[in-house]
Symmetry: C2
Subunit: 342 residues, 2 copies
Amino acid sequence: MDKGKDVTIYDLAEKLNISVATVSRALKDDPVVSKKTKKKIFELAEEMGYRSNNFARNLRTQRTNTIGAILPRLNSYFMSTVIAGIEHVANSQGYNLIISQSSESGEKEQQCARTMFNNRVDGLLVSLAYDTDTIRHFDSFLKKDIPVLFFDRCAEHDQITSVLIDNRKAAYEATKHLIAQGCRRIVHITAHTSRNVYTERLAGYRQALEENQLPFDGSLIIRNNLSQEAGYEAAKDILAMPRLPDGVFVANDNCAVSCMLALKKQGVSIPADMAFVGFNNDPVSMVIEPNLTTINYPGYEMGEVAARYLISHLMGGAPMTATNTVLLRSELIIRDSSLRNP
Amino acid sequence: MDKGKDVTIYDLAEKLNISVATVSRALKDDPVVSKKTKKKIFELAEEMGYRSNNFARNLRTQRTNTIGAILPRLNSYFMSTVIAGIEHVANSQGYNLIISQSSESGEKEQQCARTMFNNRVDGLLVSLAYDTDTIRHFDSFLKKDIPVLFFDRCAEHDQITSVLIDNRKAAYEATKHLIAQGCRRIVHITAHTSRNVYTERLAGYRQALEENQLPFDGSLIIRNNLSQEAGYEAAKDILAMPRLPDGVFVANDNCAVSCMLALKKQGVSIPADMAFVGFNNDPVSMVIEPNLTTINYPGYEMGEVAARYLISHLMGGAPMTATNTVLLRSELIIRDSSLRNP
DNA sequence: TTGTATGCGTTATCAA
DNA sequence: TTGATAACGCATACAA
């Protein structure tokens, strides 16, 4: 048990008086090596505390066994849940995971991509930043046939598969539900961006209005960054409206919750005066009173699916280009914040 | 712009009719290379889309420029905040971050450690799992002088520095506050483990009782896994007590919040009947009504400090063995859940 | 200031 | 079934 130096296959080979080639093969569990030698080698490796050198292997094989993930932020409930799912799959498949966050900045996202590229990840999982307006920074990957996969915050690209839910449909269901509860003037709070998830949700909202012969009123759309603080601001905006709305559909639970709190403080009764629906099924939706009706967004599953998909491709499975989009199931969870006739 | 093949320093050298050694040195910005040649090399590198091969370099230098992080779980508010802090520092210092989760299992933690070891991380950040009872799985790192650093969930070890808050003191303050609010029978909900953070909090709780001549009553200690579900169960336990408590100090906001919800549903008035204090300053503490008094636990800062500490050591800074413990400031945030005489 | 030559630990291609 | 050996791309000791 030497302290400083690492044990290599040369050490093993020398000690057993065989060639490094055989040792290498044995360690890979190559069936061509005889059981006997294999056993000898394994035992000695164990005894000498051998560990394979990944760099040398990577250098040789030109693969890293590492997948990269670029996320807009790490410290949100949804994203951390997704990461947990990704990590779980990656780890169980023997892949390493390297993670970085774009902090919702397109510029930072490009940096992250470059770093991932230089680290030669075998594949890349990405959820786009708020203000990413071009996805050319992934071209270098595609050019080298390194698969890239978007999840949640996606963009159209014919070489990149997207894993997401049907945001339009989910928003449609949410809005329809509010209408069914008697709402006629429904505010929609969404992000100030053209990121797919938000435009789709807006589209679903509009569709539900139209199908129910309700006019679309642009003054009922509030755009902000969907943070907690933004929720308080939104409440002010709502209270300042010449005619108060009777329903609010928010593209994010966090923002919905703080908005509800602010409105409640001003004497607004929920759901009687205003019914609320959020998005994500964040744990806070169960803490706010009344509990928030929301869209269940399976973050953990999304992480698992995305990672599994990427890895199975890396392991020589189905080509990615075949499928353009993988849609996960989501569902409306009805709670008290929107139930007017219980 | 060849598609398949990577550009190497050999390509650059050949094209410029100089040696690879010079190219290598120039790319490292070695001052020994003349400005002129350096410029030529940089320009060509840019033009040909050269990117350095980290494996080759790592293989050569025996360093990876990567730090590993093992966390009990990724999908909790606190932990994801810590990760964000770690990632921020690592990234800005040019270090890669590889992450894995032990899922609160000591066994899985050992696996993670082994993987990190095989990936030859330059340093390791660890927050221990619930049921980790030995830390021998980090010996292999220490033997090779790979620095290991604990944060939040720590264990005593004379070669491992710990970054944490003064849990005992924080719990002491929390309990003292409840006593000052008139509480005399204070329940403490904590984890079913001997992990430092929980034993320390319990110790702080006891100390506050003793200093105020209140008897310690083991039947007032509720142990569970501090999850949301556990909070509901804890509420049942509390309501089943022969004599109801008048204060509750929970080692975790999430659990506190669900416990409060369950108690409220049963007609318990908070803080009048029972005052509540949580731990962590999780966002839900601001959503629950009344808002939860809690200990502010600076997760992001903790991540930053831990990462910075490790990296500065790696870059040849202060040796880690000098400092045993880095204590971060925490503070009691008083909100309505514990304020009896407003 | 630049060049030569070697080793880092594996894997893969031959040949035996 | 095994062995010898050439890459893989880079960094550095030594020489020039």
